[in-house]
C-alpha cells in the first residue's frame, strides 16, 4: 500500500463533470397542490482520475454520494450529465463485446455480506457462474479454478458445497472477493467492504485485499466512512460532502495537512487511542439533505472557518495546494 512509485501514473478511470440526480416525484396529492418534481443531487459535478495500480480511498458520511459515485463508474447507474472513461473509452457508448469486456474488468465488492450473496446458490455456483461468463467452457476447469480462488481468499475446498447462510460475515466477504476475482478484473470498487465486520476480521480482509492487489495488479476504489481504514489502505484519499469532492490528496498529506474545514472536523472527530491534542472539533447540526443542498458552498451551514458572504453565494472552485493536493474552499481560492 505504500508503493507510491510502483503504480503507473496512467489514468484507468477518468470522470469528467459527472452528475447523478435522482428525480423524485411527489405523491398524487402533493402534485395536486402544485408540488413539482424534486431532484436529489446525489453526485454533483465530480471530476476525478483513478490511476492504474493505486488504491483511491473515498471517504464521507452517509448521504454524501460515495456509493452512487462507485456505481456510476461501474455503469450500474447512468450519469445525468458528464462523461466517464475507462481505459480511455467512454463507457456510455460501449456496446456488445466492448461492454462485456468492460464489465469483466470492472468489478464490485458490496458492503453487506449478508445481502450480497444469493442465498439459494452454493459457493460453487456463486464462483463458477462468473467463470462461465468469462468463457471457461469446461466444467472441470471451472471447478478447478473455483477451488484455486477459494484457497486464495483463505477458504477451504470443502466450503464449495455450502450455502451463504452457513458462513460468518468475514467468510462471506471472502466469497464475494473470490467472485469478483473470478472475472480477472483490473479494477474493483470496494464499497465499504469491511464496515460490517468485527474488528479482528476487518484486519484479515484488509490484508487479503492488499495481497491480492499486489498479485493481480489491481486498482481499487475503496469506499469507506472509517478514516483509520482509509488511512491504512489508500494511496490517495478523496473526501466527499453532499455530492461534491471537497478535498483530495495523497494519504499522508491529507491526514497531516488537511485543509478543508470539513476534512479537519472529520479527522478530529475520529476517536483515537493515542490522541495528541484533546481538542475535538464538534460540528454543529446535521448533514443537510441532498434534495435541497445549501446554495454556494455546500458546507457553509456547518462551517466553523466560514469566510463570509461568498461562501453562501458562490460555489468554490478547485484550488491546488501543491503536489497533487486539491481543495474546494473559498479560503484557498486566491492561492492560484
Amino acid at each position: 500500500m505504500e508503493k507510491v512509485e510502483e503504480y503507473t501514473k496512467k489514468p484507468l478511470v477518468k470522470i469528467e463533470s459527472a452528475k447523478k440526480y435522482f428525480i423524485m416525484r411527489p405523491s398524487l396529492l402533493a402534485r395536486a397542490f402544485g408540488r413539482k418534481n424534486i431532484a436529489l443531487k446525489a453526485v454533483d459535478d465530480i471530476n476525478l482520475i483513478i490511476k492504474e495500480g493505486e488504491t483511491l480511498g473515498l471517504v464521507g458520511e452517509s448521504g454524501c454520494g460515495k456509493t452512487t459515485l462507485g456505481r456510476l463508474i461501474l455503469k450500474l447507474y447512468e450519469p445525468t450529465e458528464g462523461k466517464i472513461f475507462f481505459e480511455g473509452k467512454e463507457i456510455n457508448y460501449l456496446n456488445g463485446e466492448a461492454l462485456m469486456d468492460f464489465r469483466r474488468k470492472a468489478q464490485i465488492i458490496f458492503q453487506n455480506p449478508y445481502a450480497s450473496l444469493n442465498p439459494r446458490k452454493t459457493v460453487r455456483d456463486i464462483i463458477t457462474i462468473p467463470l462461465k461468463n468469462r468463457g471457461v467452457k469446461d466444467p472441470i476447469e471451472r471447478e478447478e479454478e473455483a477451488i484455486v480462488l477459494l484457497r486464495q481468499v483463505g477458504l477451504s475446498d470443502r466450503h464449495i458445497n455450502n450455502y451463504p447462510h452457513q458462513f460468518s460475515g468475514g467468510q462471506r466477504q471472502r466469497i464475494s472477493i473470490a467472485r469478483a476475482l473470478a472475472m480477472r478484473p483490473k479494477f474493483i470498487v470496494a464499497d465499504e467492504p469491511v464496515s460490517s465486520l468485527d474488528v479482528s476480521i476487518q484486519a484479515q480482509i484488509i490484508n487479503l485485499m492488499d495481497e491480492l492487489q499486489e498479485e493481480y495488479k489491481l486498482t481499487y476504489l475503496f469506499i469507506a466512512h472509517d478514516l483509520s481504514v482509509i488511512f491504512y489502505v489508500s494511496n490517495r484519499v478523496a473526501v466527499m460532502y453532499l455530492g461534491k469532492i471537497v478535498e483530495i490528496a495523497e494519504t499522508m498529506e491529507l491526514f497531516e495537512n488537511p485543509r478543508h474545514p470539513y476534512t479537519v472536523a472529520l479527522l478530529s472527530a475520529v476517536p483515537t487511542i493515542a490522541r495528541q491534542e484533546k481538542k475535538r472539533i464538534i460540528l454543529k447540526g446535521t448533514v443537510p439533505t441532498p434534495i435541497n443542498p445549501p446554495k454556494g458552498c455546500r458546507f457553509h451551514t456547518r462551517c466553523f472557518m466560514k469566510k463570509g458572504k461568498i461562501c453562501e453565494a458562490e460555489e468554490p472552485a478547485r484550488a491546488s495546494i501543491g503536489g497533487d493536493h486539491y481543495v474546494c474552499c473559498h479560503l484557498f481560492s486566491e492561492r492560484f
Binding site: 458520511e61 487511542i273 464538534i282
Partner: protein, 336 residues
C-alpha cells in the same frame, strides 16, 4: 473519581440453554463501578457485552437466565429483588440506551410523548387523565411539557418545541439518539448503560453523541457503562476498560494501562489489528481464525486456538483473573 462503589458485580453468569447445547453468554464476570465513573465494556460480537448489560437489568430474553452471581446496586442485590421493585429501578435508577435508535423508539408515538411516558411511569409526573378541575389540569400539563422540553434541550436537540411534536422517523439518526438519551435521563438515573449508542451513526454525529453522554454523566454525577467494539471510543471516553472474550473478562483496568500496556494476548492482538492514523503507517497484523462457537465451550482458555503465545499450560481447567498491577487484572497463564 473515587467515591462509594455504585455498582458491584460478582460472579455474574447468564446462560442460554439451547437445543444444541448451553451457551454461557456471561461467564462469572466481576467488576466495580464508582460514582461518576465511565467504564468501557469492549469486545467483538458474541463476547457477551450486551448480555451482561441486560443481565444487570434482568432483561435477559427467554430462554436465557441468570444462574449465578450478585449485582449489588447501592448496596442491594438486584438479582434478589421482586419484579415489582425491579420495574421501579429500570428507567429510574438505572437507564439503558440501546444501539439502534430507529428500532428502539416507538414509531407511532411522538417524541415528546415518549419522554413523558417515562416520567409518568415513574411517578415523576402524574397521569393527567385523573379527574381534576380542568384549569388545574392544563397548568399541570404545561408544567410537564416544560420539563420534557428542558430535557430535550439538555440533550442538544436543535428545536425542542418542534421535535416534541415530531415522530421518530422525522428525525435523523443523531437526533433520534439524542431523544433516546433524553428518555434515559428523564428520571435522573444514577447509572446509565449505553449499548453501542453510536455504532449506527456517522463519525461527526458520533462525536456529538459521545460528547453529550460524557457531559451529562459528569454534570449529573452519574456513572456509565459504555459498551463498544471501538477501542478508540473507549480510549477517549472511559476511565476504565473491561475486555471481554467468549463471555469472560480477559483483561480489566484503567484505560491508559490496558491500551498502552496491554497484557492479555487477545487485547494485544486486537490492538495490533486495528489500523491507526499515525505519523508512519504501521502494518496491521490480524488475529487468525474466528471467534469460537459458544455452544459447549471446552474448559480451557477460549482464546487458546487463536493465541500466538499459547502453550500446553493453557489447556488446564479454568484460568483465574489475576492482579498484575494496581487495578490491572488479567486472565492468562502467562501471568502469575
Amino acid at each position: 473519581m473515587e467515591g462509594n462503589k455504585l455498582l458491584e458485580v460478582n460472579n455474574l453468569t447468564t446462560v442460554f440453554p439451547l437445543r444444541r447445547g448451553v451457551v454461557k453468554a456471561v461467564d462469572h464476570i466481576d467488576f466495580e463501578l464508582g460514582e461518576g465513573e465511565i467504564m468501557g465494556l469492549v469486545g467483538e460480537s458474541g463476547c457477551g457485552k450486551s448480555a451482561s448489560m441486560l443481565s444487570i437489568l434482568r432483561l435477559v430474553p427467554y430462554p436465557g437466565k441468570i444462574v449465578e452471581g450478585q449485582v449489588s446496586f447501592n448496596g442491594e442485590d438486584l438479582l434478589k429483588k421482586p419484579s415489582a421493585e425491579m420495574r421501579k429501578i429500570r428507567g429510574r435508577e438505572i437507564a439503558m440506551i440501546f444501539q439502534d435508535p430507529m428500532t428502539t423508539l416507538n414509531p407511532v408515538f411522538k417524541v415528546g410523548e415518549q419522554v413523558r411516558e417515562s416520567l409518568k411511569i415513574h411517578g415523576i409526573i402524574s397521569n393527567p387523565e385523573r379527574i381534576f378541575p380542568r384549569c388545574l389540569n392544563r397548568r399541570r400539563k404545561r408544567a410537564e411539557q416544560r420539563r420534557v422540553l428542558s430535557l430535550l434541550e439538555e440533550v442538544g436537540l436543535p428545536s425542542p418545541e418542534e421535535n416534541y411534536r415530531q415522530y421518530p422517523h422525522e428525525l435523523s439518526g443523531g437526533m433520534q439518539q439524542r431523544a433516546l438519551t433524553a428518555i434515559a435521563l428523564s428520571c435522573a438515573p444514577k447509572l446509565l448503560l449505553a449499548d453501542e449508542p453510536t455504532t449506527a451513526l456517522d463519525v461527526t454525529i458520533q462525536a456529538q453523541i459521545l460528547e453529550l453522554l460524557e457531559r451529562v454523566t459528569m454534570e449529573r454525577r452519574a456513572s456509565m457503562i459504555l459498551v463498544t467494539h471501538d477501542l478508540g471510543v473507549a480510549a477517549e471516553f472511559c476511565h476504565n476498560i473491561l475486555v471481554m472474550y467468549a463471555g469472560k473478562i480477559v483483561e480489566k483496568g484503567p484505560t491508559k494501562k490496558v491500551l498502552h500496556n496491554p497484557k492479555h494476548p487477545y487485547t494485544r492482538g486486537l490492538l495490533r489489528s486495528i489500523p491507526r492514523i499515525t505519523k508512519e503507517k504501521v502494518r496491521i497484523k490480524s488475529i487468525p481464525g474466528n471467534v469460537p462457537d459458544l455452544i459447549n465451550l471446552p474448559h480451557r482458555c477460549a482464546f487458546y486456538p487463536r493465541c500466538d503465545e499459547a502453550s500446553s499450560k493453557c489447556e488446564k481447567k479454568e484460568i483465574e483473573l489475576k492482579k498484575v498491577g494496581t487495578e490491572h487484572w488479567i486472565r492468562c497463564v502467562l501471568y502469575k
